[in-house]
Symmetry: C2
Subunit: 436 residues, 2 copies
């Protein structure tokens, strides 16, 4: 095979064969193809797309570019959830121990934050000592004992994705649905799962700005999963405003600990977490009725089972339990500033992207992947969409260390729209199942 023939075929809008895709990826990972040929192919894929068969083959080739697991290592089945990311999206931190408490195996690998969205690994690392990199033996032993581990990817796990993602980032080929879908699914399938629930977000704080694009991405991913024998379902969910109340690393851990301890918290976050966990239980066949699954989840949150699982996981991964038991010990910013409403009415809009950027500016996010993070900074949302507000009411409390606070009041005011009637509270906008 010749690389130029394969590039030209995709350039001309033709479908590549599984063999062509496998050859190209294998050669690239083996450093037998230069970055510039992959860059040309990526741009051709960006502009000409890929059909379902090509996407499955691409995922498969990426998945087999390094080490990966099969469900057998977890006793035959395992489940996970993946979110396309948003502002204040801390669902995984509650969902993983909750699903394990409900009897699922949850070998969750996560990523780091970039831009206006935070990363699960970074949030966990705001708990002192928490290790997101475990040896293979540690990881499998923990999965065996607790049924849950939350870790980062080791470099030999799906190396094609790492290499391709870095190249996409510098060649303007990131926002391609087939490439995003293959990237996500290769890593998730490589975890060795039998079921996967996808939370595909849409709205100002999400990667997919339109519901239509979110639906296309969801469809691409569930079909790739089905082609690999993984039971998949995607929920399309709103990311108009931040999820829950906290945005920022320690603050988000704090909010999660509250929910894990009490079973109570901001409804949008709690309901979505319960719904996604119940979908995992459903896909894994634990319950044939979603309502029953939801009830079980709420019970495991209320009775402290999920919380105990979270504590055991933190201890197993080296985290400082004192921070969990006394969240006031978590890293915190030195200053707090309450931003108040300049007018009365109802919150019509609360721009997730603006809040995400604000927190990034405070030092609570990365512009490039090598930036360090200030775990303590963030925003606590006091009023959300639909809430009634009186002039002078607090809108948000900003936790900061003096950095990135220029024009804070104006920026918060711009993120909120307060009007006469409450804005719509959007939550779950749709569900996507495999097409075959």
């Amino acid at each position: 095979m010749r690389a130029t023939d394969i590039i030209a075929k995709k350039r001309d809008g033709k479908a590549l064969s599984g063999g062509e895709i496998r050859w190209f990826i294998n050669q690239y990972v083996a450093e037998a193809l230069p970055d510039y040929q992959m860059a040309a192919l990526l741009m051709a894929v960006f502009l000409k797309g890929m059909n379902g068969g090509e996407q499955a083959a691409l995922t498969d080739a990426m998945l087999h570019s390094g080490r990966s697991y099969k469900p057998e290592v977890f006793g035959g089945s395992a489940a996970d959830k993946h979110s396309t990311g948003g502002v204040g999206d801390k669902v995984s931190l509650i969902l993983a121990p909750l699903a394990a408490a409900a009897g699922l195996k949850v070998p969750m690998t996560s990523g780091r934050g970039l831009g206006h969205t935070g990363g699960t690994l970074d949030k966990l690392e705001s708990i002192s000592g928490f290790r997101t990199r475990l040896s293979d033996e540690e990881f499998l032993a923990q999965m065996d004992e607790l049924g849950v581990a939350m870790i980062g990817q080791s470099p030999d796990f799906v190396p094609a994705d790492m290499k391709m993602y870095r190249l996409r980032d510098v060649t303007a080929t990131v926002e391609s649905i087939p490439l995003i879908a293959a990237s996500i699914m290769s890593k998730k399938i490589g975890e060795g799962i039998s079921s996967l629930v996808l939370d595909v977000k849409t709205g100002s704080g999400a990667f997919m700005k339109s519901l239509e694009d979110a639906r296309r991405l969801a469809g691409a991913m569930v079909d790739i999963g089905a082609a690999h024998g993984v039971r998949c379902r995607a929920l399309l969910t709103a990311m108009d405003q931040p999820l829950g109340r906290a945005v920022g690393h320690s603050l988000e851990i704090l909010e999660c600990i509250e929910i894990l301890r009490t079973g109570e918290g901001m409804a949008d976050l709690l309901d979505l977490t319960v719904e996604l966990t119940a979908q995992m239980l459903f896909l894994e066949g634990k319950y044939t009725d979603l309502g029953q699954g939801r009830e079980v989840c709420r019970g495991l949150l209320s009775d402290g089972s999920a919380y105990q699982r979270f504590r055991r996981m933190v201890r197993a991964q080296g985290g400082d339990l004192a921070m969990v038991d006394e969240p006031s010990r978590l890293p915190r910013a030195e200053r707090r500033e309450v931003i108040r409403a300049g007018t009365s009415g109802f919150v019509r809009r609360l721009d997730a992207l603006a809040i995400g950027k604000l927190v990034q500016g405070l030092g609570g996010g990365r512009a490039v992947i090598t930036d360090s993070i200030d775990y303590g900074v963030g925003v606590w949302i006091e009023r959300k969409i639909g809430d009634r507000v009186k002039e002078g009411d607090p809108l948000v409390t900003v936790h900061h260390n003096g950095r990135g606070v220029e024009g804070l009041e104006r920026r918060v005011a711009d993120a909120y729209e307060i009007g006469e009637a409450p804005g719509p509270r959007r939550a779950i906008l749709g569900q996507v199942d495999p097409s075959t």
Copy 2:
């Protein structure tokens, strides 16, 4: 500026500014941008195109990436012809000395052959000792004395083109009209010419297979020329069958010497050469009437003026004049094989591409640019489109050294179509002038 923003802009189908194009090319030539970012941009240009302003800016940026000439060094004006390449296209070898004999300055830079088409430099080098690389001083002195030089590009001449062409070759981005047009025009304008006649070929042996594509390429090139103050005109010409009788390096030199000596030869080659030269004279304002220009050209061929200019150029560039005066001394293949017609009728079709590939297979062409060339091999066309043939008549004489002769008879028979009525003799199919 950021490379990814520029790539994304073109990817999304927007027009790049002159500043963006200049920055990208300059950074690339300075090795401040990696090949993979240029590869992504090239694929985006391939698929999204470039408008006239972008093409002129790209040409300009490439042109200024290294050393180039202005017409002033040739006393204020100079003219050239460029052909997009075909099989048996030896026009330059006759045209350059002819135009110089007619009083024009012709600072012609040419390229090497690749694939099924031959290169002017390679053909000249079949004359022992002929130097296609001259020092700047030698080149300017020869231009001053003879008004003509036929040379290759020095590495510091339009270096952006060399670097981009190599990358296009391995990223499936060669066949893009804006990229082809900018590549050709940057090199031609950089010669320091005031007028340029373009011979854009179409048909089986040409790069542009359809007349429509040829017209688009021609339009792109003449507009780029006009934007740079170069008087330009393109002729669209047929490349269905090889031009003239010879295909192969020495054989083509031989055919040219015959025409230069006698003013007589195969009509398609002779007429096209005269036409293109007359167009150069017209653009340079030597004659306001094309017919007069043609007459002058025929006269300079008949009276030996063009031939004498050719001899002086060969001598000036170190070539062995004995080979010119006695062409039997030119490199020749050891064996000749006459392939005869298996049926009677008229030649309806003679596939230029098939003949070009046949000669390449004999050793008379390159698959990759580092291949060496067997100057003596080639094909002498005995019957051309429109000719009457009787069974047993010679179709072609193959000059070979035993290499690449498998299935010779069948391949020649396949290249010819002999039927009851003669096929159309197509020559000049159209003319394209700048749109503004």
